[in-house]
């Protein structure tokens, strides 16, 4: 307990130091960068009335974040719905692995900025294009971790399945899925992190309401302090998401 308190205090010191660096930078070499105080003054209204809707792109920060979160949730769901079975197939079949692994390795490093225009061409609307991009970019950790999980199933378990003559369905539900679950969840955690990373780019390019869209609009209207507000929000929400998945993952490993 005492140690945790100490760690928390140290983290606060870290935050304070970075804040100080920020203040010094804006006071000296980067006059366009709003100081922490100015950022707060100009963003106060978004934070103090977080759920307020004053216009399409003029909404409280929580409301904005919730639009983004909802979009991420849909894209992430799409990613794991496609990625998990894909991972299972690749892990179970050497043939499929050899067939598709090179393609996956090529698709994996492609940036969301490259996928988005393709999505817009395909769907002609910004919302589905954004989901397409989020799903396509965030899917890979799920695919790869699930695949590795399946490959890591001990031979002992396969032997048990064989000597008991389990049907393919029971093999999947009684052995494969439970054995792979921890790997799957590590994949989900990474995927969710990526999905959140992608959302900003997707909203910036499509101009949809959300933290990313707001950020881009405020850049165009030269209100830099709001950019900083968005950056902070994105970081904090991302951190919270990761922690949440971390807790779920730990639960799973303990079970």
């Amino acid at each position: 307990m005492k140690k945790r308190l100490g760690n928390f205090a140290l983290a606060l010191v870290g935050v304070a130091l970075v804040g100080a660096l920020w203040a010094i930078t804006s006071a000296t070499i980067a006059p366009d960068l709003p100081s922490p105080l100015k950022t707060w003054e100009e963003s106060k209204i978004y934070v103090m009335q977080p759920w307020e809707k004053r216009g399409e792109m003029d909404q409280g920060i929580l409301r904005m974040a919730s639009y983004s979160l909802w979009r991420v949730a849909k894209g992430f769901l799409l990613a794991i719905l496609i990625g998990t079975p894909l991972g299972f197939i690749l892990g179970a079949s050497n043939l499929f692995y050899k067939m598709f692994d090179p393609t996956i390795q090529v698709l994996r490093p492609i940036s969301p900025l490259a996928w988005l225009p393709l999505g817009l061409i395909l769907f002609r609307q910004s919302e589905p294009a954004a989901l397409f991009t989020i799903a396509l970019c965030s899917m890979w950790p799920t695919v790869i971790n699930t695949m590795q999980g399946v490959r890591a199933i001990p031979q002992d378990y396969h032997n048990v399945a064989k000597v008991l003559r389990l049907s393919p369905w029971r093999r999947l539900t009684k052995i494969w899925i439970p054995a792979t679950l921890p790997f799957m969840f590590s994949g989900y955690r990474l995927s969710l992190g990526l999905a959140w990373l992608v959302i900003v780019a997707a909203e910036m390019l499509t101009g949809t309401p959300g933290v990313g869209g707001f950020l881009w609009q405020e850049y165009n209207s030269l209100i830099y302090s709001h950019i900083l507000l968005c950056i902070l929000t994105i970081g904090i929400v991302g951190f919270a998401l990761d922690r949440l998945m971390g807790v779920a993952e730990a639960r799973l490993r303990a079970a």
């Binding site: 002992d156 048990v160 064989k162 008991l164 439970p178």
Partner: protein
């Protein structure tokens, strides 16, 4: 009329490596036979082919006049490691087998059967615990219950006591013996413990060293039952058999290999 389990000219190669060659034995119903040999000679290979987990390269295993090359519920298998599924309780692990072997039974009937066998191996009290919470010996007992609940004709055991301390090993040897005496299933036991083989079996099949391992010596264990571990050392017949096994393992198992090389 019940026919023996026949292993005929069983040969298994792994790439260029001939692990087992022309291995042939017949195991009459109800016999307790042990497969003994130096580490790596191919005991597990033979057993897993009988279990249907691997396929023979030539020759094979015949049960009731039918060649087997897949696993079957007529053969219960216990491995060296308990191989219980860690996310299931002891009962659920056994249930998995019960559902396969007795699909027509009601779930309640299947559960009763599981509890019966868990009781038989002496672990009723741990039925609702996860494997990780239990000792190796207890886990191995559950693995035995999982094999028994199939009510198989053959029990195939691959060094099932290998990972246990010697006290637990004695307990489990007695358990297996007691179970065997109750229903006289055919048992095939792989081991490299000479005393274990002598204590348990009707017959010991000694394998020559690999590669190209085959039957080196087929030894009937003529000791009367019940056998007593504590006075075995004073029994001249026991000592004679033990001497014969050791002589084979020390000298002849290699000689066969040398002969072939020459």
């Amino acid at each position: 009329m019940i026919r023996p389990l026949e292993i005929t000219s069983l040969t298994k190669t792994f790439g260029p490596h001939v692990a087992v060659k022309d291995f042939s034995i017949k195991v009459p119903p109800g016999e307790f036979v042990s497969l003994l040999g130096h580490s790596g000679c191919g005991k597990s290979t033979v057993l897993s082919i009988v279990a249907g987990l691997q396929q023979a390269t030539f020759g094979g295993v015949v049960i009731d006049g039918v060649e087997v090359d897949t696993p079957g519920l007529d053969r219960g298998v216990v491995f060296q490691s308990p191989s219980l599924l860690p996310w299931m309780t002891a009962l659920d692990n056994v249930m998995l087998a019960a559902c396969q072997a007795h699909p027509k039974q009601t779930p309640a009937g299947q559960k009763d059967l599981c509890l019966k066998y868990l009781g038989l191996v002496g672990v009723s009290e741990f039925a609702h615990q996860l494997p990780a919470e239990l000792s190796q010996g207890t886990q191995q007992r559950i693995a035995i219950a999982r094999a028994l609940v199939l009510e198989p004709r053959f029990l195939l055991l691959d060094e099932p006591f290998g990972m246990l301390d010697s006290m637990t090993r004695f307990e489990l040897q007695d358990l297996v013996l007691e179970l065997w005496e109750k229903d006289r299933r055919t048992v095939m036991l792989v081991t490299h413990d000479i005393d274990e083989a002598l204590y348990l079996s009707d017959r010991i099949v000694l394998m020559t060293d690999g590669p190209e391992a085959r039957v080196g010596l087929d030894l009937a264990v003529t000791l009367p039952r019940p056998r007593d571990r504590s006075v075995a050392n004073e029994n001249p017949e026991y000592m004679r058999l033990r001497g014969e096994v050791i002589r084979f393992l020390e000298h002849h198992s290699k000689q066969f290999a040398n002969e072939r090389a020459a």
